[in-house]
C-alpha cells in the first residue's frame, strides 16, 4: 500500500522534470550550437560542422590560457587538500577551546560574495606591494577551496573508525606506519575526491581571478574577454570542451568522495 503510493507518477514528478529541464536545457543549447554551420544563432540549425573546434585548438591565446588554468588548478588542489585534510583531522578528532568558532570561521570565505574576496585580496597585494601574477591567483583560489576541502574531509573523517588505527599501534606500528598503511588508504578516496572538486572550482573561477590576475590570463578571463566582445561561435565550442572537462572531474570526484554530503 505504502510502496504503491510512493512509486506512482504524480505532480511531484512533473515538477521535478520541469526543474531538471530548466537546469539542463541551456547546457544542451550551448553544445548544440557549438556544431552549428554558420555563426548566427538561427533556429532550426543550418548544418553540422566541427570548424569552430578546429579554430579553437589552433588559437594560441586559448592554448596558453588553458595551460595557465591547469597549472593554477593543480597547485590550488594540492595546497587545499593538504591544509584542509590536516585541519579536518584536528576538527574531527580533538576537542579543544574555540573549536566551534574555528569550524565556523573556515566557512566564511564561501558565504561571502566572490567580489569581496577579490577586492580584499587586491587591496592586500597592493598594500604589501606584491606583484600580481599566477601566484597571487593561486593564493586567492585556495581561500575558497580550503573550506570545501575541510567540509568534504570532515564528512569522511567524522565516520572514521579510530579503532583500526589503535589496532595497528597495538600490533607495533609506529605513528608514521599507521598513517601510511592504515589511515591513508582509508581516506585516499576522499583525498582524490577533494582534489578533483577543488581543481574544478579553481579551473572555473572568474570573479576573484579578475581582480588579482597579472599579465597571464587564465581560461575564464579569456572567455570573459570573448563574451564582452560579442557572440562568437568559438565560445560555444570552448564552453562545450570546458563542460566535458568539468563533467569528467565531477564524475571522478563523486565516485571517490560523495560530494552530496556537502553542507
Amino acid at each position: 500500500m505504502h510502496r504503491k503510493k510512493r512509486n506512482r507518477f504524480g505532480v511531484l514528478d512533473v515538477i521535478n522534470i520541469i526543474i531538471l529541464l530548466y537546469l539542463l536545457f541551456p547546457l544542451a543549447v550551448i553544445i548544440l550550437y557549438s556544431f552549428n554551420l554558420t555563426s548566427s544563432l538561427k533556429f532550426p540549425l543550418e548544418g553540422f560542422t566541427t570548424r569552430w573546434y578546429k579554430e579553437v585548438v589552433q588559437d594560441k591565446s586559448f592554448l596558453d590560457s588553458l595551460r595557465y588554468s591547469l597549472y593554477v588548478a593543480l597547485a590550488v588542489s594540492t595546497i587545499s587538500v593538504t591544509i584542509g585534510t590536516l585541519a579536518s583531522f584536528a576538527l574531527t578528532r580533538y576537542n579543544f577551546k574555540f573549536k566551534n568558532i574555528i569550524s565556523f570561521s573556515v566557512l566564511i570565505p564561501i558565504t561571502l560574495p566572490a567580489i569581496i574576496l577579490g577586492i580584499s585580496l587586491l587591496s592586500f597585494f597592493a598594500a604589501i606591494d606584491f606583484k600580481r601574477s599566477l601566484l597571487t591567483v593561486i593564493f586567492g583560489h585556495c581561500i575558497f577551496c580550503i573550506p570545501f576541502a575541510v567540509l568534504v574531509m570532515n564528512s569522511r573523517l567524522s565516520g572514521f573508525d579510530v579503532s583500526v588505527e589503535e589496532a595497528a599501534k597495538d600490533l607495533g606500528a609506529t605513528t608514521l606506519q599507521t598513517f601510511r598503511y592504515v589511515t591513508f588508504p582509508i581516506i585516499r578516496p576522499s583525498i582524490i575526491g577533494v582534489m578533483m572538486l577543488t581543481f574544478a572550482l579553481s579551473f572555473d573561477e572568474f570573479l576573484v581571478t579578475f581582480f588579482i590576475i597579472g599579465k597571464r590570463n587564465t581560461l575564464p578571463i579569456v572567455i570573459w574577454g570573448m563574451l564582452r566582445r560579442g557572440v562568437s561561435p568559438t565560445i560555444n565550442s570552448i564552453a562545450t570542451m570546458v563542460l566535458f572537462l568539468s563533467i569528467t572531474l565531477i564524475i571522478i570526484a563523486n565516485k571517490y568522495a560523495k560530494i552530496r554530503t556537502l553542507r
Partner: protein, 284 residues
C-alpha cells in the same frame, strides 16, 4: 599533554593561510574604507566620509535596494524549486537517485561564465526563444524585453544557484529518520500534517543554509547583471568593481563592500529570526 598539542600543529597551516590571505586582506579593506580619495591620490586618514557618501547620491541606495531585492527573490525561488527535487531525491527516487544527483552536479560544476552566457543566447533578440516563436509564427518581431532586465537576471541566477540550494536541503532531509515520519503516520497524522509538523521543521537547517548561500551570492554577483542585466539591471557588484577599476576610488569601494557585508549579516539574522518564530508558533 601530547594530545593537546597535536590539534594546534594540525591547525597551524590553516591558521597561517587564513591570517595571511583572508583576515589580513579583509582588514586592509576595512582600513581602506576610512581613507580618503583626493585629486592627488589616496590619503591615509580616519573618516566616515565614504560611508556617508553612500547616501549622498540616490544611485547608490537604489542600486543596493535593487541588488537585495533581486537577491531575495532569487533565493526564495531557489529554495521553493529546490525543495521538491531534494524531497523526491530523499524519499521518492531510490533507483534514480544517483542519476538525478549527477544531472544536478553537472549543472553545478559546468562553467559559471558559460551558464550565464547560455541565457544570453536563449533570451536575446536573436536568441532561441525568439527564433522558436518566430519559426512557429507566434510573433513577427523579436521580443526585446526578455533580455536586459531584472527578470533576466533572476532567471539566470536561479538557474545557476538552484543546484547549490538543492544539496544542503537534500543533506538535511537525509538526516531525518524514517521512523519519525512513520510514527507520525501511525499516530494518525495525514501526509500534509506529517510534512508540516515533522519533515519541514527538521529540514529547516538545510533550507536556511541554501537560502543564505543563494541570497549572498546573488546579491553580490557581478557577471550576471553585466551580461544579461542591461541598464535596468545595474547591481552593487558593478559599482564596487568600478571603484576598483575605472574610478579608482578604493576607499569608497571598500566602504560599499563593508556596508553590504553588514547589511547582509543583518538581513540574514532577520531571516533566521523569522523562521524560528514561525517554528515556535507551529509547536503550540
Amino acid at each position: 599533554m601530547k594530545k593537546e598539542k597535536k590539534h594546534i600543529i594540525l591547525l597551524t597551516p590553516l591558521f597561517t593561510y587564513f591570517t595571511f590571505f583572508f583576515f589580513a586582506p579583509m582588514f586592509v579593506l576595512f582600513i581602506y574604507s576610512f581613507w580618503l580619495k583626493t585629486s592627488t591620490g589616496l590619503v591615509p586618514t580616519f573618516t566616515l566620509h565614504n560611508y556617508l557618501y553612500i547616501f549622498s547620491n540616490k544611485l547608490y541606495p537604489i542600486t543596493i535596494l535593487r541588488s537585495i531585492r533581486i537577491g531575495f527573490i532569487t533565493a526564495i525561488i531557489c529554495v521553493i524549486i529546490s525543495y521538491p527535487v531534494a524531497y523526491s531525491l530523499t524519499f521518492k527516487y531510490k533507483k534514480l537517485q544517483d542519476l538525478v544527483l549527477y544531472l544536478i552536479l553537472i549543472s553545478l560544476f559546468s562553467s559559471y561564465l558559460v551558464r550565464v552566457y547560455a541565457w544570453k543566447t536563449i533570451l536575446g533578440s536573436n536568441g532561441i526563444i525568439n527564433q522558436i516563436l518566430k519559426y512557429i509564427g507566434v510573433i513577427e518581431q523579436p521580443l526585446t524585453f526578455l533580455l536586459f532586465s531584472p527578470t533576466a537576471i533572476i532567471i539566470t541566477l536561479v538557474f545557476i544557484l538552484t543546484p547549490f540550494t538543492i544539496l544542503p536541503i537534500f543533506s538535511s532531509l537525509q538526516n531525518i529518520s524514517v521512523d519519525l515520519i512513520e510514527a507520525a503516520n501511525d499516530l494518525g497524522a495525514n501526509k500534509f500534517k506529517t510534512f508540516y509538523k515533522i519533515t519541514l521543521p527538521l529540514s529547516m537547517p538545510g533550507v536556511i543554509t541554501g537560502f543564505i548561500f543563494s541570497f549572498t551570492i546573488s546579491t553580490g554577483d557581478y557577471v550576471t547583471p553585466q551580461l544579461v542585466g542591461g541598464t535596468e539591471g545595474l547591481m552593487i557588484g558593478r559599482i564596487i568593481q568600478d571603484q576598483f577599476g575605472m574610478t579608482y576610488n578604493w576607499p569608497f569601494g571598500s566602504a560599499l563592500a563593508y556596508f553590504m557585508i553588514f547589511l547582509l549579516i543583518f538581513l540574514i539574522n532577520c531571516f533566521i529570526w523569522i523562521t524560528s518564530i514561525l517554528k515556535l508558533k507551529r509547536k503550540f
